[in-house]
């Protein structure tokens, strides 16, 4: 048992650092470090740089373009990427639909979709949730009825993150009859967003951004060849994906970077003639979050170590999601607290790349409250933390 890197791993770390140093656009990393979302253009540009280096899809099998990294290398990559402020790749394509395609898709589908994903030519989004369904994914109503070589899709998907940018959407739709159980009546479809009958309408979140959308399907024709795997087996593929999605949701590296930034900033924040970083209540709160994160880092490493010895990522991934999002939200809240009165002003325009007006409040303050409000979603989406708790109860404790 030891936590030292091997010679090889240290060499890899050096390579990663050199790459990030040389290739990461400065404006993009600055934005990421402030907790802001880079523009679509900035994101795609960075992903194309990653692809050129061959590092776009560490989670993929090598045959499809994966990196073949072991869990320590992935850990090093995530740590360094985050420390440098490189954006996370958009998950919907490379991390979400792609594993389903290469695991359950046919050869033609792999040929057709995977290259555009790894080259970032196509932006994907997710069509799982529906209004009034919440975490209860199996109760969905969007229906696909076969008509010749097509399905005709009708219904509404919601919470579609960045759907406004998307070229394609992957959807769970109901193909089975009304007498069939929900989970045996669902299929997994890939749908071109340009198909007639699709409209996207924004949902504004508490921070005022239209980050998520409703996607309406009105007699949308989707070729049957766009179905993944068998009809009515979609729930199986979706569940596989949900487990897949949960690993990595701990976002340990990201939280570490944010805590480091927070601590540095607190040392320059006035607090009654002293600095905030010397305030005992503040110190204790920050220490507790930092310690929780340290524990979480090792919980994740333990899980990764188990996975690397061949175990499937099990229900433990629920714990990573749960504690990981709690830590993220604790940091969100510390940022608001640090901002003091400057947590109040809502001046979104000064977060724009081309803003050159007067700045209100110090660094990190302007986005602190909006980010806190927005990120309350972290404990709700991707299977709410209550659902994760239920999974722990059932699958681990046998309750």
């Amino acid at each position: 048992m030891n936590i030292d890197f091997s010679e090889q791993e240290l060499a890899f770390q050096a390579e990663v650092r050199a790459f990030l140093q040389a290739e990461l656009p400065a404006q993009t990393s600055e934005k990421v470090k402030q907790g802001l979302r880079p523009s679509k253009e900035q994101t795609v540009a960075w992903q194309k740089i990653l692809h050129k280096k061959g590092w776009m899809a560490p989670n993929w099998p090598v045959e499809y373009g994966g990196t073949g990294w072991n869990s320590t290398q992935r850990f090093i990559w995530e740590t360094e990427r985050t420390a440098f402020g490189a954006p996370e790749v958009v998950a919907f394509g490379v991390k979400m639909v792609a594993p389903v395609i290469y695991t359950y898709g046919n050869e033609e589908q792999k040929q057709r979709f995977l290259p555009d994903i790894i080259q970032s030519n196509v932006w994907w989004c997710q069509g799982y949730s529906e209004p009034n369904a919440g975490s209860d994914l199996a109760s969905l109503r969007t229906a696909a009825v076969q008509d010749g070589d097509d399905y005709v899709v009708n219904g509404t998907k919601t919470w579609t993150t960045l759907g406004q940018y998307a070229d394609w959407i992957f959807c769970l739709v109901r193909t089975g009859g009304p007498d069939m159980k929900n989970q045996e009546a669902i299929s997994f479809l890939l749908i071109d967003m340009k198909t007639p009958g699709i409209t996207v309408s924004p949902i504004y979140l508490l921070d005022g951004t239209p980050e998520v959308n409703e996607v309406h399907f009105d007699n949308v024709r989707v070729p049957v060849t766009n179905r993944i795997g068998e009809e009515n087996k979609g729930w199986t593929y979706a569940k596989y994906l949900l487990t897949h999605e949960r690993t990595g949701t701990a976002r340990v590296a990201g939280s570490k970077q944010r805590l480091t930034a927070l601590k540095a900033k607190a040392a320059n924040t006035g607090d009654g003639g002293q600095v905030l970083s010397e305030n005992p209540a503040w110190q204790q709160k920050v220490a507790e979050v930092e310690i929780e994160l340290l524990a979480l880092e090792y919980t994740e490493l333990r899980t990764l170590a188990a996975v690397s010895t061949g175990k499937a990522p099990g229900p433990e991934s629920s714990m990573l999601k749960l504690i990981g999002t709690e830590v993220q939200q604790a940091i969100d809240e510390l940022n608001v607290e640090m901002a003091g009165y400057y947590g109040l002003p809502f001046v979104p325009e000064q977060l724009d790349d081309d803003y050159d007006g007067l700045m209100i409040g110090p660094e990190l303050a302007a986005n602190s409250a909006p980010a806190y409000f927005n990120n309350r979603k972290a404990t709700i989406y991707g299977g709410s933390n209550e659902i994760q708790t239920n999974i722990i109860c059932k699958a681990i404790l046998g309750l």
């Binding site: 009034n132 947590g343 002003p345 809502f346 409000f373 309350r376």
Partner: protein, 375 residues
Amino acid sequence: MDFSYSEEQQMLRDSIGKFISQDYDFDSRRAIVDSDTGYSMEHWKTFAELGWLTVPFKETDGGFGGSAVDLMVVMEEFGKGLLVEPFLANTVLAGTGLSEAANEQQKQTLLQPLMEGNLQLAFAFAEPQSRYQLADVQCSGQIEDNQIVINGHKAVVLNGEAADKLLVSVRTSGQTTERHGISLIVVDADSAGISHRAYTNVDGHRAADIWFDQVTVPVSNLLGEADKAIEIIEMVIDRAALAVCAEAVGAMQISLERTVEYTKIRKQFGVTLASFQALQHRMARMFMEVEQARSILLMAAMEMDRLDGRAPRALSAAKSRIGKAARKVGQESIQIHGGVGVTDELDVGHYFKRLTTIQYQFGSTDFHTARFAGS
């Protein structure tokens, strides 16, 4: 001991409740927040007509009575409706300053029109570096030849854009963070040398950062004695803290009600959310938070009216406890609502936002816990 409202207090409460249910539903409020001024002049006039703007002032000054309990009654109701009209900035902050420190003439020219709804004021006390320490004043006021020359920067001034006049804390002598040497000055908002950057706060209230560059006013604009304003400022801020505590209690009550109602309707996995015991127990905890918050609010308001010096300790207890409750109730109301809770369209998220900002106004939860511990 008596925990009942007087007849006047009951009437006051009922009239505000009626106004909110009739004229201040969520959509009306949204339209006001999105308007140019960020508040409704029509409503403001109504407030004046109904006498609400006189509530925190003594009868001798033409007010309703001026007890902290009266103020609590008003603010709790305002909290239920998430009112954004600048009552806190005008009536509570600036108004308390005037009530405590103004001379007869200033009362005539400032307090009277304030109560009549004809004058907009703002209280500029915070600075970028000051956080919650009221004596941390760098904004300078140089007194020379019957004039005061003001230079400096005031942060996040509520109602800073709409205000006709500003009440500004400045350092007329001594070093930064020294208690002696701070003065309060009335400044016309359109004086030469004043610039500002206005914005909407995340909770829908309006504020501005204001810069003073060689702004010159006559010495007669001093509010109270020169160099001795710190205790007045502390009273003003404690009063404002009590006001937002009451506002939080009202807002929490609605957040709790909305959450309980929602879980009774919303189904998941074929049953209502309300049928999940884990959620039930969390809502019971929210209920207890609201009740404990209400209790300590009553305590603080009554202690404030005793005028025996224990008010700051009581107020800190209340702000600390209510801050904790506001955090818990706000966060849980969103979490239990689920996805729809983080959208702009539902009111519960807006209560959450206000419950958040209240935690950081006029001393954070930690600040007041420490002040309580040290008292």
